[in-house]
Amino acid sequence: MAIRKILIANRGEIAVRVARTCKEMGIPTVAIYSDADRSALHVRSCDEAVRVGPPPSRESYLVIDAVIAACKETGADAVHPGYGFLSENAQFARACAKAGITFIGPPPEAMEEMGEKTRARRKATEAGVPVVPGLKEPIPQGGEAAAKDFARSIGYPIMLKAAAGGGGKGMRLVADPKDFDSGLATAQREALGAFGDGRVYIEKAISRPRHIEIQVFADSHGNCIWLGERECSVQRRHQKVIEETPSAIVTPELRAEMGRVAVNAAKAVRYLGAGTCEFLVDGNTRTFYFLEMNTRLQVEHPVTELCTGLDLVRWQIEVAAGGRLPWTQDEVIKNLRGHAIEARLYAEDPSKNFLPSPGTILDLRLADGPGVRNDCGVESGSEVPRYYDPMIGKLAVWARTRDEAIARLGRALRETVVKGITTNTAYLRRVLDLEEFRKGDYDTGLLERAKDRLLHRERTGDEEIALAAAAIWQLEQDQRAALRQPVSAEEESGWARAGRLQALRRSR
């Protein structure tokens, strides 16, 4: 069946990115928004927009009935869930099916089998995919003591993970038995907050582990292929910060082997559309363990697009509409080219323990020129609400070699300026400068180990220039003040007007 109108059940950069492909395909789009997002970029990036509730996601973006109602109101016959929110919610997929709406993603059964980690591990083991030793079942109420024993049995360090989890939320590394209880408590609280499901399970923590994932794609005609790997070991608190492809340690043989395993896992659940198998790879032995399958588009999909030349969202839509994969596995291998790196732009302050810094972006200057791709959910004047994930966008680059790609990303990060809120751009540049990163010799512990080097602010020679600029600036402010034309940040910026107008509206 053809898809005639797509509702994008998400916000921020991914909603904007999906809308772009829809525009290129000539498919009308519908945005949904919470009260905190009325002025958000994704709302005006779509042809239509429907309010789905108050700011908290549990009362808006996560309300299945509201999203289905928005589809019916606008006549959308398909939903693209993006990532996060309802993207891996089988119940939502079923609700769509029930309402005759095409859910652009895998069938609910595949989601359920892969969505919940413990079941996924079982499924994977059945499919002959190696997994990390650990307790397959979530820790039941009152089972804490038994869990603690099991933890000791497989040996510390151990990992506590949210059963319904993903994206590192509700994950805790426990290195010492005495920290088990506190770690468990935090993991459960975060899991509950993030997924409405507080269950966590135990897993042995691999040392020097690399997080490498394989992009797979399946159509409804039995075809399933892999599109190469993504190296995601540059993480902070299990949150990916920088992703690249190819991985420095993945040989063509290893790639083919991991790809084959990933495709098997996908086939085992009769997968459809875009999916990702996450593996933990031992940095030394290069043995890999299946971690989980993300049954949706990944945040970091652009690096795969840059090296394959594909538009994965276009493929998702075509496949959801019953189309066949246009490529065979061989064509993929023939088309892999160059090196791509993505850096995630977060509204956070690295110098304050990465404290999120919501607020208004007074000025946003993005990088341009050769080999640069921006996927941004904000623009100058945008508000970054405190209710959602602090990622405001992604900066990805492509170049023929890894060295050139690193140089290009460094250049692009220097061109990227976000004013009004604090972001991690300078931190990202320092990550690129780490010797381990330049060598490609790193694991998921990189950022933790390099913490001090990354936060230390080098004293630069241009301090005098900063002082002079501030003085000239202040001088002119004073001169203009003297001329009785006070100019404050408030009066100057359009967002302030926006604020006033909105205030005006509310006050009515």
Binding site: S39, R44, E48, A49, S380, G381, S493, A498, Q502, R508
Partner: protein, 167 residues
């Protein structure tokens, strides 16, 4: 607030009133309930029913406004009573009476193709101005007679400078 808008040569009555949900805008007998928020840099996000529009606004002089809706450009004038009277007084609705031909941009006069007293046809070239290495011929807005000629070959002219008058 009641405005008279001029778009595509037509006059339209547009009445905008703050409403609970945002604004109520009446255009002729059509009424739109609009949720509007300002964006940075002279732009509005409008939601009308479920339709979402980004409107970029470029205010000009005397009520002239350019509105970019999505990717369509609209040139219009939005006039309150006072501006409307002025606008009508200026009698620019038609091309009756003397018409000024002004330099549309700063540049240099490279050729003057007419002299005072010449009869000219509408669209006939009068003066050639060079700017950015391009030659641009300024044409007569109406058929008539050259009653004034300020353009001098080789002279630099500023934007808006009077070059000739056709009566």
């Amino acid at each position: 607030m009641r405005y008279t808008a001029i778009i595509g040569g037509e006059e339209r009555i547009v009445e905008a009133t703050p409403a609970a949900s945002g604004h109520r805008v009446a255009i002729g007998d059509q009424v739109l309930e609009i949720d509007a928020v300002h964006l940075q840099g002279y732009a509005l996000s409008l939601i009308v029913g479920t339709r979402s529009y980004r409107c970029d606004i470029e205010p000009g002089k005397d009520g002239r406004v350019t509105v970019l809706v999505g990717d369509h450009i609209h040139q219009l004038e939005i006039l309150d009573e006072r501006k409307l009277r002025m606008r009508r007084a200026s009698g620019k609705f038609s091309l009756e009476g003397p018409q000024r031909v002004d330099a549309p941009m700063p540049g240099k006069v490279v050729r003057v193709l007419v002299k005072v007293g010449d009869e000219v046809q509408e669209g006939q070239g009068l003066v050639v101005v060079e700017a950015m290495k391009m030659e641009n011929e300024l044409k007569s807005p109406k058929a008539g007679k050259i009653t004034e000629l300020r353009a001098v070959e080789g002279a630099a002219v500023e934007s808006g400078a009077k070059l000739a008058v056709v009566t």
